[in-house]
Every structure is written in structure tokens, then in C-alpha cells.
């Protein structure tokens, strides 16, 4: 048995980056980086425990730490939505989250916030923990 916590809790840290060709490996967990855990953090809320994503070790967006056991590595990416493969411009579903953008995107600032327009698909960059991810949104204008 690898972990006693719900798999997705820790595995949520791994982002699928299918576009990368080499070095693809599945990260199942990471070392806990703090001793004193914030007990108010409910690590189990809305976690999709079935996600087990691939991560390319060369492109890994990275994250600062996480918790193990009793608080291991919960992550907004895991809690918010499954992080799917590198975006395909033609088939992006609103609400899906990717860790890298397709090629040829344009930065557009609307109401002070940055968006990425990639063909007809719009992505909103966001911090998921300390990692940057991109969530597919409806055209903001």
C-alpha cells in the first residue's frame, strides 16, 4: 500500500502533461514539508480520489510543499477539477484545467485580469497553490 490517505489527495499534485514527449512518469506523492499542520484545513473536501495523473518530470509546474498524512498534499487542482491533458484547441471544455497552454495564444487583459486567447478557446491563468494553471472559460467579452 502506498498511502493511507485518499489517493487523489496526494496524487492531485501530479499534473497531466500529455504534450510532453520524454521523461513522462507518474508522481504518486511527495515529501511533507512542514511539521506543524494547520488543522483547519480539511484535506478531503471535494477531492476527486479517482484521478491519477501523469506528470512529465521535465515540465512539472511544481508546487511548494504540501502535507503528508493528516494533510498530505491536498491541492486546489485536485479539488477543483481534474487536470486534463494539454489543451486541444478544438475540444476544450469550459471548467477544465490545464497546466500548459496550446501554442499560439495571445494575452488579453480584461477588467485588469489576464486571459489567454488560443484560437476560439479562452483560458484564465490562475494560481493553484503556488503553481500556475489555466482554466478554460467562456469568452470574457
Amino acid at each position: 500500500m502506498r498511502m493511507t490517505v485518499p489517493a487523489g489527495v496526494c496524487f492531485g499534485l501530479a499534473l497531466l502533461l500529455a504534450g510532453a514527449a520524454s521523461g513522462a512518469a507518474v508522481v504518486r506523492g511527495t515529501a511533507r514539508t512542514n511539521v506543524n499542520v494547520n488543522r483547519n484545513v480539511n484535506v478531503n473536501r471535494n477531492v476527486n480520489v479517482n484521478v491519477n495523473r501523469n506528470v512529465d518530470v521535465n515540465v512539472h509546474g511544481g508546487y511548494y510543499g504540501g502535507y503528508a498524512c493528516c494533510g498530505c498534499c491536498y491541492h486546489p487542482v485536485a479539488t477543483a477539477a481534474a487536470v486534463t491533458a494539454t489543451a486541444m484547441v478544438t475540444a476544450a471544455v469550459v471548467g477544465s484545467i490545464v497546466s500548459t497552454l496550446p501554442p499560439s495564444c495571445t494575452t488579453v487583459v480584461i477588467n485588469g485580469l489576464a486571459y489567454q486567447q488560443c484560437g476560439s478557446t479562452w483560458y484564465q491563468p490562475q494560481f493553484s497553490g503556488s503553481s500556475t494553471t489555466y482554466i478554460v472559460v467562456n469568452a470574457p467579452r
Binding site: R2, M3, T4, V5, A25, V26, V27, R28, G29, T30, A31, R32, T33, N34, V35, N36, V37, N38, R39, N40, V41, R45, N46, V57, H60, G61, G62, Y63, Y64, G65, G66, A68, C69, C70, C72, Y74, H75, P76, T79, A80, V94, G95, S96, I97, T107, G112, L113, A114, Q124, P125, Q126, F127, S128, G129, S130, T132, T133, I135, V137, N138
Partner: protein, 256 residues
């Protein structure tokens, strides 16, 4: 005869109870909490909480575990400047990320230099509260957060199941005492500077919830008299930086 039999049964019970007691005692002995080790930890926490200002550089390593058990080690450096109770500047430079954390007592900003993205949110009144808020709301861990929790209400001293004083040890030329602790799912060690300044000089965490037991290490270099001014904690976005948002923990993906 019957009375003897009862007596015999009673004796057996007494013996069994004694054996159980001995076994329990032995169990306690193997997982004993050395009160002196706990006292040293508490002294360190009290000292950390007494610092009005500090600068610390932490050289860190963190292991990831791949699906087949293979471990990968990533290195990083965290430069942190803190002024109690409500100023923080932390720059994290690792193999994977370059992040600036800024807290000026009113707002908190996370800046991703390479991507040129930053996000700013209103902040609570103290660094400790900020650490709690960021974790709870955004799944974001303040760098070296233990330095703000030891000696405070979020300290996990009560969770320690075993504590021992390993002995004297030097960390980069500084005389320390080496302590080892066990909690559920975590073994950890701290090297505390000897003398009047009981600072943590090294911290090693071994995660037990994964068979591969990944470790995280931090080696600290302290400066208790840093020179800085207020602008150190204030974020001024570079011209080419773009504002983004924090994804909230447990929030439904935005569909606007």
C-alpha cells in the same frame, strides 16, 4: 478444593495482568517521549516567537516519489524576511519554481517571475493568520511555515509520540543539539543551536505515509539584525506583469 481452584484462577489473572502491565510499560519505553527533548523544542519555539525581525536563508531539498517507488530529489533556496507580527517577504527559487511572497500587513501577493503573473488578495492582521488563511482558502503554503508555528497555537507539540535527544552535532560550523521526533505519518529531526540563541539550524522530515519514505530537508542560515525598509514588503508590479487570480480550494471551476 473449590476455593483453591478459585485462588489458582485468581493468581493466573493477577499474573496475566502483571505481564500485560510489563508489556505496556515496555511498549511505552520504546516510544518514550524524552521531556528534555520536548523542553528544547518548546524553548526553540518560545525563542522564535520572541524575535521581532529575522532574515533566514534555507537551502532545501524535497523528494518526489514516482509510481514505481523511484525517488527524485529537487533542490531550492528560500530567502525570507519577517517582521513580527505582520510583514513577510519570501523568495523561493527551486528547480521548479521562482516565486515571491509579499505581505505588507494589508495585502498578500504571490508573484511568479518567470511567467510574469501575480495575484493579490486582502490579508489578515498577522503572518500566522495569513499562513492559515492561505492554506485553508487557496491551498498555498507559506514558505518555511514551521518557523511561524513553533511556539504558537498551531504548534503540533501535542502530536509528538516519541522524542529523543540524539546528541551534539555541528551544522555548518555551528554547535547544535540533534533531536528526533515521531508523529503519526512523520518522523522528523531538528538541529537546535546551543547557547542563548536556540534557533533551528537544520530540519529533516521523513514522510512515512509512502513506502518510499520521501524526505524534505532545510538548512537555515540566520541573520537576526537584517537591514531593510518598508518597501521590502510592498509589491510593485513590473510593467510586463499580469494580474491573475487564486483558485480556491474546493471551489467549483469558474464558468464565467
Amino acid at each position: 478444593m473449590r476455593r483453591l481452584r478459585y485462588l489458582g484462577a485468581g493468581l493466573i489473572l493477577v499474573i496475566a495482568a502483571s505481564v500485560l502491565t510489563v508489556a505496556e510499560t515496555a511498549g511505552d519505553a520504546t516510544s518514550a517521549v524524552d521531556p528534555q527533548a520536548l523542553a528544547a523544542l518548546n524553548r526553540m519555539g518560545t525563542y522564535l516567537r520572541s524575535l521581532k525581525v529575522f532574515q533566514v536563508r534555507a537551502a532545501t531539498t524535497t523528494e518526489d516519489v514516482l509510481d514505481d517507488g523511484q525517488k527524485l530529489l529537487y533542490s531550492g533556496v528560500t530567502d525570507l524576511l519577517a517582521q513580527a507580527p505582520d510583514r513577510l517577504r519570501a523568495e523561493v527559487t527551486s528547480d521548479r519554481q521562482h516565486r515571491l511572497f509579499l505581505y505588507d500587513g494589508k495585502t498578500f501577493t504571490l508573484f511568479a517571475q518567470r511567467a510574469g503573473y501575480y495575484a493579490t488578495v486582502p490579508a489578515p492582521a498577522t503572518t500566522a493568520e495569513l499562513a492559515d488563511r492561505l492554506e485553508e482558502k487557496y491551498g498555498l503554503e507559506v514558505p518555511l511555515v514551521d518557523l511561524f508555528r513553533w511556539g504558537g497555537p498551531r504548534s503540533n507539540v501535542a502530536d509528538i509520540k516519541a522524542a529523543m535527544d540524539v546528541g551534539p552535532s555541528e551544522v555548518e560550523g555551528t554547535s547544535c543539539e540533534h533531536y528526533a521526533f515521531r508523529q503519526t505519518g512523520l518522523d522528523w529531526q531538528v538541529w537546535i543551536q546551543l547557547g542563548d540563541y536556540p534557533l533551528p539550524r537544520k530540519l529533516v522530515l521523513t514522510t512515512l505515509t509512502d513506502d518510499a519514505r520521501p524526505t524534505h530537508t532545510s538548512t537555515y542560515t540566520w541573520n537576526l539584525a537584517p537591514s531593510f525598509n518598508e518597501t521590502a514588503f510592498v509589491f510593485v508590479p513590473p510593467d510586463d506583469a499580469r494580474k491573475i487570480v487564486f483558485a480556491e480550494v474546493g471551489a467549483e471551476p469558474s464558468t464565467k
